[in-house]
């Protein structure tokens, strides 16, 4: 399960927008090159129809579709599929490098719940992560939907799931100096909206989680609730505000950060599989 950090370096420190994707019908790993060509033609056609992203200079979109063999959880998981869009200006010299403008990748990390119940011809890659202009995401998504009869849906992250994430990640052991464990709440329905940022020193947050978690390697909903209640109580003691009644919109730790609109940033390769596993689970429950 050790993923080569070099290969996954591109994943880190980027804000990924999350989608759930239903199983792909008749997706063939042997045909990745074909898919790249077809997608490229599709994008070119969309641009001619007037859905151009760039105006003025004639620009070629180069599409690359590749398989990331190591990016998976179990043997049952399908290996991840990476799609990259690069711009090559026709005007530039042959040696100029293509500029990567958009990346998206499909993956499944311990998505057995889904793949177990799916017929032969379907490929399960329930989690899709995109980084780059929304127009490209839309084009790539449309092509995949048409070609493999699947359905993309934005994956929102509920406050409940955000609190799971912050509890889990706050407990992670990190060798380097870590950044604060931050929870951001929003109270929108007041006469004037209020945002509250509650940042805890990472050592203190971890110390709290360590006393809450009873079995190492295992996390229960009850433990997450106790952790959150402790944080709420400490806050209430000082400010008399019921933070539990506010909306948790974002959590941020040294391991990763997540926003309720379904945007995630992974900062540490060490915990990449764990984060992806959690996100896969969210995607699978949205599909089912």
């Amino acid at each position: 399960e050790n993923v080569d950090p070099q290969k996954t370096a591109f994943l880190l420190r980027k804000a990924w927008t999350l989608y759930s994707v239903t199983p792909l019908y008749r997706f063939r790993r042997s045909r990745l090159r074909d898919y790249a060509r077809l997608l490229s033609a599709f994008i070119a056609a969309e641009k001619q129809k007037g859905l151009a992203v760039e105006v003025g200079v004639e620009l070629d979109i180069r599409v690359a579709v590749s398989s990331l063999a190591d990016l998976r959880g179990s043997e049952q998981d399908q290996a991840a599929v990476l799609v990259q869009l690069s711009l090559r200006s026709r005007a530039s010299s042959r040696n100029s490098e293509d500029k990567l403008v958009w990346s998206g990748w499909f993956c499944s990390v311990y998505g057995d719940d889904l793949s177990e119940n799916v017929p032969e011809d379907f490929t399960c890659l329930p989690l899709f992560l995109a980084h780059g202009a929304e127009t490209y995401t839309s084009m790539v998504g449309s092509w995949f939907q048409k070609t493999f009869d699947c359905c993309f849906r934005r994956l929102a992250i509920s406050p409940l799931n955000l609190s799971w994430m912050v509890a889990m990640w706050a407990g992670c052991k990190l060798d380097r100096a870590a950044s604060a464990v931050e929870l951001v709440f929003s109270v929108p329905r007041l006469s004037q909206p209020l945002d509250i940022s509650y940042a805890i020193h990472p050592e203190d947050a971890k110390a709290l989680w360590d006393t809450v978690q009873k079995t190492p390697g295992e996390i229960t909903q009850e433990e997450v609730d106790v952790f959150m209640d402790c944080l709420y109580a400490h806050f209430h003691r000082h400010f008399k505000i019921h933070l539990s009644a506010a909306k948790l919109v974002k959590v941020s730790t040294a391991v990763a950060s997540a926003h309720c609109d379904g945007i995630v940033k992974i900062l540490h390769s060490q915990y990449l599989p764990g984060v992806l596993m959690l996100l896969t689970e969210l995607a699978v429950s949205q599909i089912q």
Binding site: D204, H238, K240, H242, A246
Partner: protein, 346 residues
């Protein structure tokens, strides 16, 4: 006219919204009414500013006049800047007569004795506010006109509002010049910052409506709390609780509008206390947190928390003390809330 001055005037005019350029040039008073008549304010701003520069050329504008135009712009758009509040201290109780000429002379003298390349400009406003603009240079470089510091000093008070330039190393010298010029002996930075200069003034000059010492048990005349539902069958629902919250809010925040602040920050170094039954953290060291509240209008927002059911009434004194303690940055330690003061002693 120096081309750097021309460029500076051009850029300053470009910042001004088109429909306000004429008004600001009139306030500036450097161009005559006849000259202003020749300007076509209906063309694009680029062209307007070019024409203004040409007229300034005719009048041989120098950096001193250009700096005044900059002050006028920043006075009107003061809320674009972030202001910090400083308080000066006198050794004795004597109220000395404030002489503006003396102040200016001493201020300029102190700065110039330390730094040859500096542009200092003053402008007085009706509310006793003295605006000072300082552009900083080095012994070898002319002052950078694009990163000046602005100081607003109300001569009848010990308060100074500073919008620092990015070049923070000049701050101690600026503070020194201020106390020398105003005959104080010390100056410290208060933990109070905001974009709204007027709100900062409201807070330190106590110009907002504060909580009353005595309270009336009933809502004030004419101030009935409208029940949310129009259904006349729901009469007593939570009414007494709503009234209690409303009354407490009035006591704490007062009835009038709140000064406008955008954020408050609390560095908490208090102990984590929990129900012993929970079996959680029981360390002897503080549970370190940094809490930041942000809102377009923070105090109004906090005021509405209890009525919305989001907070207990009365609200925590940590929040309600913001205006009368005149600070929005706090360091809270266990037991008593200690508010350590930082002295910027030059």
């Amino acid at each position: 006219m120096d081309e750097t001055v021309a460029e500076y005037i051009r850029r300053t005019v470009l910042k001004i919204p088109r429909n306000e350029i004429k008004m600001m040039l009139q306030k500036w008073g450097f161009l005559s009414e006849a000259q202003l008549q020749t300007l076509n304010f209906h063309q694009i701003k680029d062209s307007i500013s070019q024409e203004v520069v040409q007229l300034c050329e005719e009048n041989s504008a120098d950096i001193k006049q250009a700096a005044v135009l900059d002050i006028i712009y920043n006075h009107i758009y003061q809320n674009k800047r972030m202001w910090s509040v400083y308080q000066m201290k006198k050794s004795g109780e004597e109220l000395e007569y404030f002489d503006i000429t003396d102040f200016k002379k001493k201020f300029k003298g102190r700065l110039r004795s330390a730094l040859k390349n500096v542009t200092i400009t003053f402008k007085e406003y009706e509310d006793n506010a003295i605006w000072i603009r300082v552009a900083w240079g080095t012994p070898y470089k002319k002052p950078n006109q694009y990163k000046p510091s602005y100081v607003v000093y109300h001569s009848q008070t010990p308060y100074v509002f500073i919008s620092s330039s990015v070049l923070k190393s000049n701050l101690p010298l600026l503070c020194q010049a201020l106390i020398v010029a105003s005959n104080y002996h010390d100056i410290r930075e208060m933990e109070l910052r905001s974009h709204s200069l007027n709100s900062l003034k409201d807070i330190v000059f106590k110009r907002y409506s504060q909580n009353f010492q005595t309270y009336s048990p009933k809502p004030l005349q004419g101030e009935t709390i409208e029940p949310e539902s129009a259904d006349i069958r729901i009469v007593q629902e939570n009414r007494s609780e709503k009234e209690r919250i409303h009354r407490l809010n009035q006591e704490v925040f007062g009835g009038g509008p709140q000064p406008k602040l955008e954020f408050a920050q609390y560095q908490l170094e208090t102990m984590f206390k929990s129900d012993p039954n929970m079996g959680v953290l029981d360390k002897k060291e503080p549970f370190r947190c940094l809490v930041k509240f942000s809102s377009p209008h923070l105090l109004e927002s906090l005021k509405s928390l209890a009525p919305a059911g989001m907070a207990d009434a009365p609200l925590s004194p940590l929040l309600t003390c913001i205006p009368h303690k005149a600070r929005n940055y706090f360091k809270i330690r266990e037991k008593k809330s200690l508010f350590p003061e930082s002295f910027v002693s030059p």
